[in-house]
Amino acid sequence: MSSQDFSSSSSSNNSKIRSYKLKNYLTTVLWTLASIGMFVCFWEFAWWRGWANPILLPPPHIFLSDLSDQFRFFDPGGTRAGALSTGGSFLSVLGVIAWSSMRVAAGLALGFVLSLLIGLGIRYFHIFGRLVLPLVTMLAPISPVAWIPVAVFIFGIGNAPAIFLVCVAVFFIMTLATLSQIDSVPKNYIQLAQIMGCSKRQIYRHVILPTILPELFVTLRMNLFAAWMVVLIAEAVGVGSGLGQVTMMARNTFNASLVFFTMTLIGITGFAFDQSLRYVQRKVLWWVGPSTVGAL
């Protein structure tokens, strides 16, 4: 039987693919802009017609007009809420965003690793599973918001409680997802490994782990937004500085412009987060076909 020709496609073909990709990308960007533009137009129209009170619902051209004034409220130092910082600049805004992002990233990473370890442990060690699974199932439905006091009792004020809350927000759901992923590993995969002489440990390491990781990463991405919500709430009730704290301060001082400005920042940051996770997923977990990744 003849062997197939597997030489890679020619370079002209490659550049064709690249221009096709670029076109695809531009189309996506255009539609995204159109989507946001539609919303902004509607809002501005409502303001123009006098439907939206500019004090309570200031449209984008108002809350984005005096940026330096808005910047004054951002203090990456994390001093107490309500204080106007002295050096309000673009950098301080980035600083505040960075703090919130760092908490989300740390909490997500911690929650992901912990849930993976516990999930694998529950299935690997039978007694451990029997002992821990009911607890996980029982704690899972408790909202992360209910954990806020616990976080403060244990960790006080600062970064630790916010990270803890993000971690809690993803941990239980990710643990249960890990279990369901382990249970749905194709039987063939495991039987083949058994025939090849794999031990139980080798099956977990070489077969089960790589099989479940891609789906778990998708689950993590879906829980990213939940993590963002939790970190903002945590910051708002005072366990840290960050975007949530700014929002809360804006609410307390009736600064609607600042509320919407912060909301814009939160939206953009969340979007960037999702995109970067998607990128990581595509690079690290290449064996998920692009079609599966693109679906989400």
Binding site: D5, F6, M196, W287
Partner: protein, 261 residues
Amino acid sequence: MTIGLKINNLAKIWNPDSNNPVKALDNINLNIELGEFVVLLGPSGCGKSSLLYILAGLENATEGIAKFDGLKIESPSPERGLIFQEASLYPWLTVKDNVTFGLKISGFSQNKRDKAAERLLKLVGLKGAGEHRPHQLSGGMRQRAALARALAMQPKVLLMDEPFAALDIQTRARMQTHLLDVWKESKASVVLVTHSIDEALALADRVIVFTSRPGQIKAEISVSEPRPRDLRSSKMLKLAKKCEKLLEEEVEKAFKEQELA
């Protein structure tokens, strides 16, 4: 010491402790010699795949015993390779790493694995596909990679569970020829499950026809024609008719039972 597979009074009942135990196999007696090509032919759901899984050591027999080279089969072993209907290559590994997965587990060095991969991929006609990923291959190529993966462990028996059922007819015919070449070269026994009479007659030294559930051995047909066989020759057509008649009775029986139930 007896060489090859020896199956004595074997029976398999699924869910024996539940309300509706299902008897999949009953009273199976079969010897398969080293280097023999045996095809298990039967209507779907007759338990022939169950028998294959028992021979692989992935399932236990409820009654009776299955022995390989004189030892009771109790757990899976690399010397009894299994090939599924779907190739089941690991999607996170390249074709080469899939083929040498078992060697890696057994602790072979990278160098030795590379050499083995080259030899095996050439043997199954996938030379140059080693660095590709499974999803880049067609169904037939994937199944050949799965064959190479099984051969890497130098099995004494190849157990094949409807390996070509998911392929189109043209690919299937080529794969059968190919399998015969590989079989001759490897000198392993092959136990292949199928419900296609043509496939059975094209490949087998011996065709074992199964009854519908519970699967019992209904007939044994030896095929002595030299390969490659012309399935349209009068002798082969006669054998095909015979198989058809045997299978028809069983399908008829199965249908009647389903009507009753």
